[in-house]
């Protein structure tokens, strides 16, 4: 099942130049992280009341913490489970450089879904857009032949868990963040 989905999606690779160009931008290590991080940065300054801005700033902090937690989980799992990349076992038209680390779980999905979940828990629409972006990133990785669908699925679950844990940590520690945020406010940076 896993392999047949990879073969199905990767079968489209190399057929349409413009589509390939779009997918190569989407599959890259940069597009989704930069756009998602820019959204987090924007949230820091967004809000019509002081309380709204404070809650948005907590979302920014939560997103950053969630990415760290997701990465840590992926690093640990990479040590425990090694799965070869799809292009090693299948005859694929690879649209990416050839990574040598474990395919399982997909780090990219972990990062994308961690940020999307952190935002979604406060902003449903914006969070949904980030979920769509993270999902497209995962699909693009399968299309490019560097991940199996189950790698992406596992990464997504890790990202969601990381964000939920990060949200709990930040909510409980919000009182400790208040003095720091007050200092930022003092200098008109929050």
């Amino acid at each position: 099942m896993d392999e047949s989905i990879v073969l199905l999606l990767n079968g489209w690779a190399g057929r349409f130049g413009l589509f390939d160009g779009l997918m190569q931008a989407l599959v890259s290590d940069y597009l989704v992280p930069v756009w998602a991080s820019v959204v987090l940065m924007g949230l820091w300054f967004h809000g019509t009341t002081a309380m709204e801005r404070f809650l948005n700033q907590l979302v920014t902090i939560t997103g950053a913490l969630a990415v760290g937690l997701a990465n840590a989980q992926v690093i640990i799992l990479n040590q425990l489970v090694f799965r070869e990349r799809p292009f090693v076992n299948l005859d694929l038209n690879v649209q990416f450089y050839l990574p040598t680390d474990s395919s399982f779980p997909a780090n990219t999905a972990g990062v994308g879904f961690a940020i999307a979940t952190a935002v979604f828990l406060r902003h449903r629409k914006l969070g949904s857009a980030l979920y769509a972006l993270a999902a497209l990133w995962g699909i693009a990785r399968v299309y490019a032949g560097v991940h199996y669908p189950t790698d992406v699925l596992a990464g997504a679950v890790i990202g969601v868990i990381a964000a939920v844990v990060a949200t709990m940590i930040v909510r409980r520690g919000a009182f400790m963040l208040r003095p720091v945020l007050r200092t930022f406010k003092f200098f008109y940076a929050a």
Binding site: G21, Q24, A25, V27, S28, D29, Y30, L31, P33, V34, W35, S37, V38, V39, M41, G42, F45, H46, G47, T48, A50, R53, N71, Q95, F96, Y97, L98, P99, N107, R182, K185, F186, F187, Y188, A189, A190
Partner: protein, 158 residues
Amino acid sequence: MLSEFVIDYLQWVFFSAFAALQFVAAKNRLRGLMLVREFPLLTMVAALVLMVFAAVVYFVSEPRNQPDGGVGLDANEQGRWFAIAAASAIAVTAIVTSVINHRWGAEHAWDEASGEAPPSGVAWLQRTTFARALAVRVRFALRAQSSVAGVDQSQGGR
């Protein structure tokens, strides 16, 4: 010496962050942070266009799918360069908009003669520029410090 890949990445993130700041400033009417205060809707559209344009230029100019152990950037490097580029975008936005909106900021500046503490927080940038807000804040802090020192001296003299 920075590689061309890093410089391109910094430029892309800088313009994306700059655009995001303009979008948020326009949406929240933080006119002191806007390049064109009179047109918030136009600013939001232009900011989105700039974000997409910056990404297109980045990806079309060179092949970007490079191994992160080689030419490309690994997660730590990305985080570091992103922080530098985003912080630069914030600083440049604050400086440039303070210059552009210099006169407008003066019209709405805090009445320092009132003797009250100026408001804190980014919301105050709806009415003045970052530089003016910061200048008022620093002057108030210095005055408060000197008046405390004066009280201490007069109490010590008794």
